[in-house]
């Protein structure tokens, strides 16, 4: 396998969900404190040289220029802070940027995170803010929402491969089962296929329970050079592969609506650098903003053949205990999707899994993990491969 690019030595995550009265600065502080508390050998003021933080929208809180704000609130001024935006992949962009910083040897200890505060805004308001990540004059102007974009992907997938609404529902059911095992998840309750099928239509064939919720939350990682990792922990998790691609901002201009080119390219890059194949992955966090997105991700990542994603979930292969458990955290669907926090939160879950700290949702013996995070209609796609430090 490939050598380490950088090492995660600690991970922190806030409780995800409806966090009434707490804003991004406080949620981010909660995640950062969690990461600091887990790493007693870290002196943040002395050791952390920079912050890389992802957040999608300034509209929720009427607050821009958040990089210095978050840095200030965790007491790390005057270190430099970088804010990245890639819609739902904002903090995966932050993580990848931080990898460049480490690999360039500019820094050797940095903080990477993400945050979003959404639940104080109405569902309609959130729909409109999220829609800003699609093309305004041609998608938003035509009344196309994000569920609408993924609804069109789902219709294409069903038409081409015979994927069923029941198979979509099984992704949601699985991720709720996993979320119920994660005390930080937004939803802790189990749902049935029937619950999904009978839930309100949002953008046919996607129903309410095919869609991730709006959530509040933050996530944080302490990332170091591989050489520095042992100073902070005996059990680092190494990032051994990274990939990143962009597609058209809009869905309409693509050759294929039932595959995500960015995920195919980013995973090829990450697998190649890590010198692994899909078969080597023991546990994965995937971008299930809508159930169809997880099914498409299975195929684009090579977890199954093209068109067989619905069958893969139906067979239980991606369930805890299955061949390739996905979204053990509950995924965006049950853990929640505070947009900017999601990418780094996926990395947090893989860190917990590969350090054997995932408690009731632990994948036994997991050594190699993967995260797949997409922004917008898969206009941004980022894949990382992780390996337990030897």
């Amino acid at each position: 396998m490939g050598g380490p690019i950088a090492s995660i030595v600690s991970a922190g995550i806030s409780k995800f969900g409806v966090r009434e009265g707490l804003y991004t600065r406080e949620l981010f502080t909660e995640a950062a404190r969690d990461a600091f508390d887990q790493c007693p050998n870290l002196d943040p003021k002395r050791d952390i040289q920079a912050l890389f933080v992802g957040m999608m929208s300034d509209s929720y809180e009427h607050q821009a220029h958040v990089a210095p704000l978050f840095l200030d609130w965790i007491g790390l001024t005057p270190s430099p802070a970088f804010r990245t935006e890639g819609a739902c992949a904002s903090s995966s962009v932050a993580l990848r940027t931080a990898l460049f910083a480490i690999a360039s040897k500019m820094y050797d200890v940095v903080l990477v995170g993400g945050v979003e505060k959404m639940t104080h805004v109405s569902t309609t308001g959130v729909t409109e803010i999220l829609a800003m990540a699609s093309d305004f004059p041609f998608e938003q102007w035509q009344g196309i929402s994000f569920p609408g974009i993924f609804g069109m992907m789902a219709v294409d997938h069903m038409h081409k491969y015979g994927t069923t609404e029941e198979q979509l529902a099984k992704v949601a059911v699985k991720n709720h089962e996993h979320g119920a095992l994660n005390p930080k998840a937004h939803f802790q309750k189990l749902i049935t296929v029937d619950d999904v099928l009978k839930s309100a239509q949002v953008a046919w064939p996607l129903k309410l329970y095919d869609c991730c919720p709006r959530s509040d939350g933050a996530s944080c990682l302490v990332l170091t050079s591989p050489e520095m990792a042992r100073k902070f922990t005996d059990t680092p998790v190494n990032i051994i592969g990274t990939g990143h691609a962009q597609d058209t901002l809009s869905l309409f201009d693509r050759e294929n609506f039932s595959s995500m080119r960015v995920t195919r390219i980013a995973s090829e890059q990450a697998y190649k650098q890590a010198n692994v194949t899909a078969k080597d992955i023991d546990v994965a966090e995937l971008h299930d903003c809508f159930t169809i997105a997880e099914i498409i991700a299975y195929e684009d990542l090579g977890f199954c053949e093209r068109g067989k994603g619905g069958i893969l979930v139906e067979e239980g292969a991606t369930h805890l205990g299955g061949r390739i458990p996905t979204n053990t955290s509950g995924g965006l669907k049950a853990k929640g999707h505070p947009v900017g926090a999601t990418g780094a939160a996926q990395a947090c879950e893989i860190y917990l899994q590969l350090t054997n700290q995932a408690e009731r949702r632990q994948v036994s013996g997991a050594e190699v993990g993967l995260t797949e995070n997409v922004g917008g209609s898969a206009s941004t796609g980022i894949v990382h491969v992780y390996k337990r430090g030897d």
Partner: protein
Amino acid sequence: MQKTSGSLTPHEEEKGRFVKDQTGAILPTVENFYTFCAQRKLMAIKCRQCKAIIWPPRGICPKCLGTQSDWIELKGKGKLLTFTVIHFPPSQFQAIAPYAVGIVKLEEGPQLPGMIKQVKLSELKIGMELQADFETHIPKEWPRWPRYFFKPAD
């Protein structure tokens, strides 16, 4: 063919609020696309270098990176590639929900997203023949973009 570099016909000067370059050419922009829509014309651009028909109009051809193009009018006829029915819309569309949107592949090649009107939602089908039409309403404030939409072909 209306060149993106070249002079306007009197007819267009009269009706249009086109954004032009110093030579008077209608620039290949979003705003100009919608100004054509106000004239009930669905327009794309054709790259002079690789001859690709590009929509939405833009200054650099995404296929060959050519920068010279001409406006061409699309017939607006095409087939539905995929669709969805939006039940939970952004606020400005709440009055008309549920409504259908889809992606239509036009005969000339471009794939356009748009609302599909004048069809029963239960009768929407991939592959159905559609025809573009235009709303007559032009908003008074930005964005002053009259919408195109699709309806079943005659």
